[in-house]
């Protein structure tokens, strides 16, 4: 790899981190809320509501299976309304946040469904309000799988950022294509791949150890 590419690589790394971290923060938070909404409104649960559940469920089912590349283009008008443009890192980060929200919402819901309903009943029997039960029972009891789900989301978001990069969003994906693939410089591609593998490994290790600490078993 040419030495003059090193600063560019660093810049690409920074761009990827920008997209990934913002998406993780926004998508993680909104996804948690949406997932909680799905879980709580599910028939038989704390705030059971057939209507709310049906709407949220259909929304998640519509967004989630759309390939990210198509989704990025499809929500162009929405992106323009919020960000002012449909291209560039900010615009793509917006799209990533929305996709991450829906992906994480399903992960959250699936992890919460496994909570023992008896524990929630016990909290209700002690006079706890639904909001308190969410805060002190639902989330803490499912913390371990939620951490693992969040780790899984990180890998998914990293993947999205590479696609966004290819479309001109910048970042490691963009760098690998422009300086590696197009210039037949396999070393550049390999270095980017190694960097991504190292990041994923580190995050997975961190997620696993946090999840284990949260498990208390």
């Amino acid at each position: 790899m040419r030495p003059d590419l090193v600063p560019l690589l660093w810049e690409a790394f920074g761009q990827t981190m920008f997209m990934v971290l913002i998406t993780l923060a926004v998508g993680g938070f909104l996804g948690l809320l949406l997932g909680l909404g799905l879980y709580l409104s599910r028939p038989g649960n704390l705030l059971a509501s057939r209507g709310v559940f049906a709407v949220l469920n259909v929304a998640v089912n519509i967004v989630r299976p759309v390939p990210f590349l198509i989704f990025l283009v499809a929500i162009g008008p929405l992106t323009r309304a919020f960000v002012g443009t449909t291209i560039g890192m900010e615009a793509f980060t917006f799209a990533m946040c929305i996709m991450a929200t829906f992906v994480f919402a399903r992960l959250v819901e699936q992890n919460l469904v496994s909570i023992d309903p008896g524990v929630i009943e016990a909290a209700r029997a002690m006079g706890a309000s639904p909001l308190r039960i969410v805060r002190t029972v639902v989330v803490p009891e499912a913390l371990s799988p939620l951490v693992l789900g969040y780790t899984f989301l990180f890998v998914g978001v990293l993947d999205m950022s590479a696609i966004a990069g290819y479309l001109g969003g910048g970042g490691l994906g963009d760098f690998a294509i422009v300086y590696g693939y197009r210039q037949y410089d396999w070393a550049v591609t390999a270095i980017v791949v190694v960097i991504i593998i190292v990041i994923v490994q580190l995050v997975q290790w961190l997620g696993n150890s946090l999840a284990r600490r949260a498990l208390r078993r």
């Binding site: 023992d116 008896g118 524990v119 029997a125 002690m126 309000s129 208390r216 078993r217």
Partner: protein
């Protein structure tokens, strides 16, 4: 009996039919017109097989379920039609323990016991003091910092009891609290529930399918079947003179009852004398009376089957005896026994009696 603390009046709870056939099937009546008064300070048992509606009935008391029709009055408060927000303080004043303990795995033993106190808005210092007191009461002071996963079933239920008692409730609901425990641990937990009732004066409502539970601690009992209370009264009376088939099945499950036909055949093969079964209870004869009658008539009585146990801390059981003596003496002894208790004469191996069960 002292004043009523829980009162059901024609209470009905229906659940909508579930599944694909929802539109065509009728709703399920889990509780079907129950009228029942539970007195302050008693241990009241609700016994029934699974699906009898007893778990739903107990959930009407702390409004985890609300009635479809009829009313439930708890400690002077009519729960009918109260909003969810108004029901929360009612729930907080009633303790509940569960078959699967339902402890929070993410909290320590102390954290679990502190939970209802947090809900009730206690300060940290007050919580810590109360938690220590409660763990001492249930004998788990050394386990405050342990997580539930490190506890045995019996210890988990003790934590459940400590947690249920935290806010000093007047009522404790026990939903199959010992059904997941082995017999020895069951006895420990039942003894603890008895202490809760005696030392703290808390009304305990016990839901169970185990005769053993009712037998050992309940003062009064309701037998439930298909959403209805089919038999109700003093535990001793209900089980010493069961009227309903379901009650008889429960009695037979826990108490050594009259021998079955197969047992009787084996008894006759082994013992040539006259085989009789006598009821032993407080109302009928005690075993001392029975033995006294036999001694009086010069008849030797050997116990060949049966036993005596306790229901509501009073003796109850049946003994099957082989009577040996000359015919006249045995006949006289039988008449003497009939004067003091219920007797079933099974005859002898040579001349089996055709007398049917007189139960």
């Amino acid at each position: 009996m002292s004043e009523t603390i829980i009162s059901f009046r024609d209470a009905v709870k229906e659940f909508p039919a579930r599944g694909r056939a929802r539109r065509r099937t009728k709703p399920v009546r889990a509780v079907d017109g129950v009228t029942l008064d539970i007195a302050a300070g008693e241990i009241f048992g609700v016994i029934g097989y699974s699906g009898a509606g007893k778990s739903t009935l107990v959930r009407l008391v702390n409004a985890l379920e609300t009635t479809t029709a009829g009313s439930v009055v708890v400690d002077g408060t009519d729960l009918t039609g109260l909003s969810e927000a108004r029901l929360r303080p009612v729930r907080a004043g009633i303790g509940m323990i569960f078959q699967q303990f339902n402890l929070l795995r993410s909290r320590t033993v102390a954290g679990n016991v502190a939970y209802p106190l947090e809900v009730a808005g206690w300060s940290r210092a007050d919580r810590d003091a109360r938690v220590a007191e409660l763990l001492d009461f249930v004998g788990l002071s050394g386990k405050a910092a342990s997580y539930p996963s490190a506890l045995s079933g019996g210890q988990k239920q003790r934590v459940g009891i400590a947690r249920a008692l935290a806010t000093s409730p007047t009522i404790l609901l026990a939903d199959e609290a010992t059904s997941a425990l082995d017999p020895e641990t069951t006895a420990d937990v039942l003894a603890l529930l008895q202490r809760v009732n005696r030392e703290l004066g808390i009304t305990v409502v016990v839901i169970t399918h185990e005769m053993e539970v009712v037998r050992s601690i309940c003062h009064r009992v309701a037998v439930m079947e298909r959403g209805r209370v089919v038999e109700l009264g003093d535990a001793y009376q209900v089980f010493s003179a069961p009227r309903q088939p379901v009650t008889r099945r429960f009695v037979a499950s826990a108490l050594r009852d009259a021998p079955s036909t197969a047992v009787l055949d084996r008894l006759r093969a082994r013992h040539p004398g006259r085989i009789v079964t006598v009821r032993i209870d407080e109302v009928a004869g005690s075993s001392a009376q029975v033995m006294g009658v036999l001694a009086e008539r010069g008849v030797a009585g050997t116990i060949v089957y049966g036993g005596i146990t306790e229901v509501a801390e009073r003796p109850y059981g049946s003994l099957t005896l082989e009577l040996v003596g000359d015919d006249a003496a045995v006949r006289a002894a039988l008449d003497g026994l009939r004067a003091v208790t219920a007797v079933v004469d099974h005859g002898t191996a040579a001349a089996p009696a055709v007398e049917g069960s007189d139960r």
